[in-house]
Symmetry: D2
Subunit: 255 residues, 4 copies
């Protein structure tokens, strides 16, 4: 089996999803069940921690791997507080760190993210930091105890695709942790491309939530991620400049 | 069901494959059975029509939809002769027309292709012409009685991808026949992209046959084609310039 | 000198311009004088042939190389009639053939273009056919007596860029006539790229005419075309996967 | 005049060059004189500070703006020492900071770069930091007193082009300092594109030094940079999906 291991979990489906922006959150459960998606991220601030029945968590299948995120945090310290709150509230010990103080493009702050990762990894969290693709930051996150590295493909929520390909490719090559492309992926073909390059997984939210039919789009992404993974394993053939005939161009009619 | 109808056939799997360039042709049968690929093209010149047991046809599952091709033809007349020979030999009435007299890039000759299409469609063939993407040629092929239009994505055998995207997109929009991207597709992500644009199917040969593991690569392509088709049906959300926060950036910690 | 020879003319500036879509046609003369652009195409239908003082021609510097075009022609026959009318009216013997019957994307009809080229070349015109990039059509235009080949980069008037790069590159490699990229080029960088690939010239209209400042934009294109030409002549270095240090990474401080 | 002001200098030519990798360093002087390039970066470690007659500096025209760089530095501290040495040796008070400890792709270390910038700006240097494109790092460099920001387009020495376009565009929009694209630019068209996006300047070394004819290639880059700058100032027209006819498609022959 070609599972992805993160922390103590074996993950079969390498499509991770986000739970924001759905017009109808009730669809999330069906969507996860039908596609076999196992990992879902939830913004803690969208969760009423006092009342599980009134929040997005009631739409998450019980067997899902919950990856609470620290969306809303502007500093490492805030992220750390949100993470602890999440664990204390029974959301488990996975945490996706998001530290953002750029109000326009919502780009992540690598240095604050590294600090939060260090603290939380030391406290036993399985830490998945969302980051701006940068090799030194990725190495620092490895050293800080991250369980995976989550570079963005394009600014979050834009559906613009894998615009940071050049650097993500280097992270995949140079880091020993799984690289999970998170943010910006707008179409299944782009998710497949990330996986063909050797990404370990892809996280998609906006592209599914804002599709005409989110359920069908989730299936599309799930298949595309599998396709990209298989292509990576199958070792693509060479790209060449010239066409080569599969048989000589002498007409067989003359034979 | 979202089947593709061509001629009198209902096709479930929108990945079509070619049978050339396999190091071991014996793999073709498994590959088609395991992926559910239904349509396969075979170069007539690679078939010893006298001896079905000694040729590539013995590796094609009996339930497959056989699409003989006229590879090796340099003129409409040669293509017509090959097509008739194919039908007379029991290969059925589908014919993929390839007329090529460019020895380097193996680009198809649209005018000769149109002529052959006209003759063969009048003779009751289900004609699938391989063509250089050009709107006037596509319209002429429609008028000549083609059952689908097969524009190239890049020169055949190059694995270079969907380089003719700009024009293929116009063919999809402006033609009423199914558009099947044929030639050049090197990775599953590229096949998915063609399908997301609204292609009806994708034909792949070199990228599967020259992969490290052709069977796994065929699965990858089959899934990617399905993913792209689903994405097309699901109606992708908009691509935007700016990230939009899924929730306001006011920290929930202060609430 | 690195001049471009077409017909009996030596051309120094490889930027050709169109005269349509200018908010103020009066700018054309200054624009040509200041940039040194020598070749300009004019739609005959925009010319009142009876009255040179009331038409766009009065804005063309007398020393310019006039390339009337057959815009508006839907068939070879119409193009031929327009060309003859142009010559008879004193517009010279250059003719840019445009035959278009696609009302949406305004794509050129290669077969009608080839027919018109054949007739007009035999009548002594210097024929510059606008065409959809296709190797067989380019070869047919060569044979028909064209003086250069003018493939489109993207649908006319779209500013979308060099979208047909893959095929234009093949035309440049495989044809002996000068290849002039015409239509679709939206930015100077795209014109430069076409020239770097070995195009002989680039024709630009919409991108100049619709710029905020057409005169400055014309200068930008003129410089970019020269830059691209020089780069082609200078033979670019190799593109590599890995960075190579220009000097060893041992700190000189330790020396 | 559209000059670029950095520190106390007014710069007319927005192409900056590097002095490494030339097969014959003697060409640098001609190249700068003939193209009007004013700013040149020199690796201090390639300079024998005791002997100006034996080092690359003797090939730099006396009126040039010298931008010594700290190539070879692996930490902020080393960069600071190199910068001070440069100033003490009469190389002026401009310093391009390069801090690199990645041996394969030679990517810059943003955090060490920020530290060095802070120290050197406080000491009165005109600091031009080479950096990995990241909005937070760019803001920190602004705050640290940088005179401009120099993000990479691709790993240094690769000629791969403007691969970081998505993020460089954001830096240009969100930063108040001039953005100078440095590293990776392989062709003049790519330099033009950076300028069209609003970059203040482009630094090129490998693409010039490794061209078949470095002098001609330098001219090509200089023109392309000017072209891109003019295009930016001229405000490009809109890119559209559909072609629009510049005049109606009713044949004028019928009029």
């Amino acid at each position: 089996m070609d599972n992805l291991r993160i922390g103590d979990k074996e993950i079969r489906n390498r499509l991770f999803i986000g739970s924001g922006k759905f017009a109808d959150e009730g669809i999330i459960q069906d969507l996860m069940t039908e596609t076999g998606v196992e990992v879902v991220t939830v913004a803690l601030r969208r969760v009423d921690l006092q009342n599980r029945q009134q929040n997005v968590l009631r739409h998450i299948p019980p067997e899902a791997i919950l990856m609470p995120n620290t969306s809303g945090a502007r500093t490492a310290e805030e992220a750390v507080r949100i993470a602890r709150l999440a664990r204390a509230s029974g959301c488990g010990n996975w945490i996706k760190i998001e530290v953002i103080s750029d109000n326009k493009y919502l780009l992540p702050d690598n240095n604050e993210t590294i600090k939060a990762t260090e603290v939380l990894a030391a406290e036993g969290f399985v830490v998945l930091p969302y980051m701006h693709p940068d090799l030194y930051a990725a190495k620092a996150l490895e050293k800080a105890g991250a369980a995976a590295i989550m570079p963005l493909g394009a600014p979050i929520g834009t559906n613009r695709g894998l615009k940071t390909k050049e650097i993500v490719r280097i992270l995949i090559e140079e880091c020993s942790l799984p690289i999970i492309v998170d943010a910006g992926i707008g179409k299944p073909s782009e998710a497949a491309e990330a996986m063909e390059m050797g990404a370990a997984a892809v996280l998609v939210n906006t592209a599914i939530a804002t599709a005409g039919d989110p359920l069908i789009m989730a299936k599309a992404f799930s298949q595309a991620v599998q396709a990209g993974r298989l292509a990576y394993l199958a070792q693509p053939g060479q790209t060449v400049e010239y066409a080569r005939a599969s048989s000589p161009l002498t007409g067989f009619l003359q034979d």
